[in-house]
């Protein structure tokens, strides 16, 4: 979707009051409340600093270390990819950032999440609401079930605008229509009063994008936004996300298992495996000079056009490990063809590689390691 010259930036109005009289209970919350009045000021060096985030699930079978000691940063306006297999912890990481992890059985047990200078984990639940929707938007994976079937889509989009921006009903509806138009729904004004089941999957996902961007957030979390859609629609939705985030300067964390998508959309990529980040680098570096066997495996398993027909698809042998009480060893070692003894004795740390801001978690690829 291309933006025409007629599209104007739908800037969110400045807001000085807290929505619905949120009770400010903590010190951090007070700081947040003050910050909200300068809607577009940047209050810290980086938009997002995640340090040692750890989220566990307390289940009947044991404690599942879904996200273990994850750290990364995000610049304002940057697009970051979180790539990995199902179950590696990428979705849980995103949910942890907005504290939407289902509790029970999940709980954030450690670490810090600094968003625009505010320590998110220190906020009360009520204060958290100030951030959700307003500063952080979320796009979920399955558009068929993520929308409320008994409410019109216009209402569902206008809801956050009314709450966070203090708009009147009419103003919120206007904004919703604008947004619908922006995300490419034809005859937006009319279709505002339709219900989700009257839209196709691709259109519903566009609606989700509109909902997520309704209050012009600083950060957009997109959890596999295209996995449930047809391939042709996938491209459209991704284009939409990219163009809108460029236009509004929104930072994006794009969660996907598809490297191709990450290549096309992101500035940086974090590769996750078994609850840990195993490699992180700029998008070019990741694809041209990956420095971790798992990443190689991921690249390798992509079918390529220049391959011989009839050749077997390459897979990474084995299954992801059990995340209950993981041992102090490289979690990928059982499946790694380069593994040596040290890999099963101590878990490697994320250490630097040759390129700037390129880190990998692998004994073998470290300077002085056995993989060249």
């Amino acid at each position: 979707m291309t933006l025409t010259d007629d599209d104007r930036r739908t800037a969110a109005p400045e807001v000085t009051e807290l929505p619905d009289e949120v009770e400010v209970a903590t010190e951090e919350g007070r700081r947040l409340a003050e910050q909200l009045s300068d809607a577009h000021t940047r209050h810290a060096r980086k938009l997002l600093e995640v340090r040692n985030l750890t989220t566990h699930f307390f289940t009947r079978d044991g404690v599942v270390h879904a996200v273990d000691d994850v750290s990364f940063e995000l610049d304002y306006g940057e697009t970051l990819g979180l790539v990995g297999e199902s179950g590696c912890g990428k979705s849980v990481t995103a949910l942890s950032l907005t504290r939407l992890v289902p509790n029970p059985p999940g709980r954030i047990v450690g670490g810090e999440v600094i968003f625009d200078g505010i320590n998110v984990l220190k906020l009360s639940e009520e204060e958290m609401r100030l951030l959700r929707g307003k500063k952080i938007g979320f796009i979920f994976q399955d558009p068929m079930t993520s929308l409320n079937p008994t409410l019109t889509i216009g209402f569902q989009i206008a809801e956050s605008a009314k709450l966070h921006l203090g708009l009147s009903r009419k103003a919120a509806d206007d904004r919703a229509a604008e947004l619908l138009n922006k995300v490419g729904i034809p005859r937006a004004r009319d279709r505002m009063h339709d219900y989700p089941h009257q839209f196709s999957g691709g259109m519903r996902q566009r609606v989700m994008v509109a909902i997520a961007l309704a209050c012009d957030p600083m950060l957009l979390l997109a959890d596999e936004p295209t996995t449930a859609l047809d391939v042709t629609i996938q491209a459209q939705i991704l284009d939409l996300i990219r163009s809108l985030s460029e236009e509004f300067g929104t930072a994006v964390i794009l969660i996907t298992h598809d490297l191709g998508i990450a290549a096309g959309m992101c500035n940086r990529v974090n590769v996750m495996y078994a609850g840990r980040i195993v490699e992180t680098a700029g998008v070019d570096d990741i694809f041209e000079r990956p420095r971790m066997p798992y990443t190689w495996g991921l690249m390798d398993s992509l079918p390529r056009l220049d391959e011989e027909r009839g050749a077997r698809l390459r897979t990474i042998e084995g299954l992801p490990p059990d995340l209950i009480d993981p041992a102090d060893a490289c979690r990928f070692a059982p499946r790694c063809s380069y593994a040596r003894e040290v890999c099963t004795e101590h878990e490697p740390e994320l250490t630097a590689r040759d390129e700037p801001r390129h880190f990998a978690r692998c004994w073998g690829t470290e300077p002085g390691g056995w993989i060249k």
Binding site: P19, D20, T98, L100, M128, R129, L130, L131, R132, G133, K134, G137, F138, F140, D142, T145, S146, L147, N148, P149, T150, L151, E159, S160, L163, H164, D194, Y195, H197, Q198, M208, I211
Partner: protein, 309 residues
């Protein structure tokens, strides 16, 4: 939609006809007739008189003939004379008894919904905590205690011992309380259980997570996003609940000596009062069928997925 309603209404006719046929057949298949014990002291009347009466009321004709005659009369609104209450027509008796029954039924229905739904919602929202246990216990009592037992206990505690309410009759608001509670006990419990289950289902839905990600207040999420969706399936049980209230009124009216038509049903079967039985059967069956239709329409109307498709 209109076509659907018409089709349902038309369909009721043959069904009701068969229902009446079955009832008619059963009544006449049983040994004995309405005049067997209507002499003084319940003794059999002299043969001659019985035969005269039977001839007078056309009871000697073949059963199918009697049936057709009855249908013909019913279509013009005449349910004929009552065999057990001399000198009164069935229509009279119906009109006399209907207000009480309708009132009891409506109050019980309202009470069931007004108490049952919030009970279920609260139980679901505070799952496994105290409100849930209280609500579930109330539901459990309602489900496990037949209405006649509830009636007996209510009468004993509140009427006989505490004297707050009368034990029977229908002469004013204080007479309404105990029978309504007794009748709606099971319905409250069923609705509460069903609402709770439905709410719990809804809490697991993705769109609730979407609502949370927008930063909405818990109350907004519960009321606007969850309850609407949770109540839609609950509407489906309102039909059977209503049928239950109608049939339950037979028992409750008998126990609390309420002058409604439910109480008449049981006695008139015993006295073989054909006219009254047929009329009551038709009335009950039609009411339940119509209520089911209304519930189905409401359901189709309230769920946008059905309304706009």
């Amino acid at each position: 939609m209109a076509a659907y309603i018409v089709r349902r209404l038309l369909w009721m006719i043959p069904v009701l006809l068969v229902v009446t046929m079955i009832t008619f057949a059963l009544m006449h298949a049983a040994p004995g007739g309405p005049f067997d014990s209507s002499g003084p002291g319940g003794r059999r009347l002299p043969e001659v008189i019985v035969r005269n009466l039977e001839r007078q009321y056309g009871l000697n004709d073949p059963v199918p003939v009697q049936y057709v005659r009855w249908v013909g009369n019913m279509l013009v609104g005449d349910f004929g004379p009552s065999y057990s209450y001399r000198n009164r027509t069935v229509n009279d008796i119906l009109f006399q008894g209907l207000p009480a029954s309708v009132q009891l039924g409506s109050m019980a229905f309202l009470l069931s919904v007004v108490v049952g739904v919030p009970l279920g919602v609260i139980a679901a929202l505070r799952q496994n905590k105290l409100p849930d246990y209280v609500a579930t216990t109330i539901s459990v009592i309602g489900v496990a205690t037949p209405s006649f037992i509830i009636s007996v206990f209510l009468q004993l505690i509140f009427a006989v011992n505490l004297g707050w309410f009368p034990t029977g009759g229908w002469r004013g608001p204080e007479y309404w309380v105990l029978p309504t509670i007794a009748l709606s006990g099971f319905a409250i419990a069923s609705i509460a259980r069903y609402t709770r289950a439905s709410m719990l289902e809804v809490t697991r839905r993705d769109y609730v997570r979407t609502a949370q990600s927008k930063g909405l207040r818990e109350r907004t999420i519960v009321v606007i996003h969850m309850i609407r969706n949770a109540l839609i399936p609950v509407i489906t049980i309102l039909g059977p609940i209503f049928a239950f209230l109608v049939t339950g009124s037979l028992i409750i009216e008998t126990i609390f000596t309420i002058p409604g038509i439910g109480a008449f049903y049981i006695t008139s079967i015993g006295t073989r009062d054909y006219g009254l039985i047929m009329a009551l059967t038709v009335l009950f069956a039609v009411t339940i069928a119509v209520m089911n239709l209304i519930v189905d329409i409401a359901y189709a109307f309230i769920d946008p997925r059905i309304r706009y498709s």
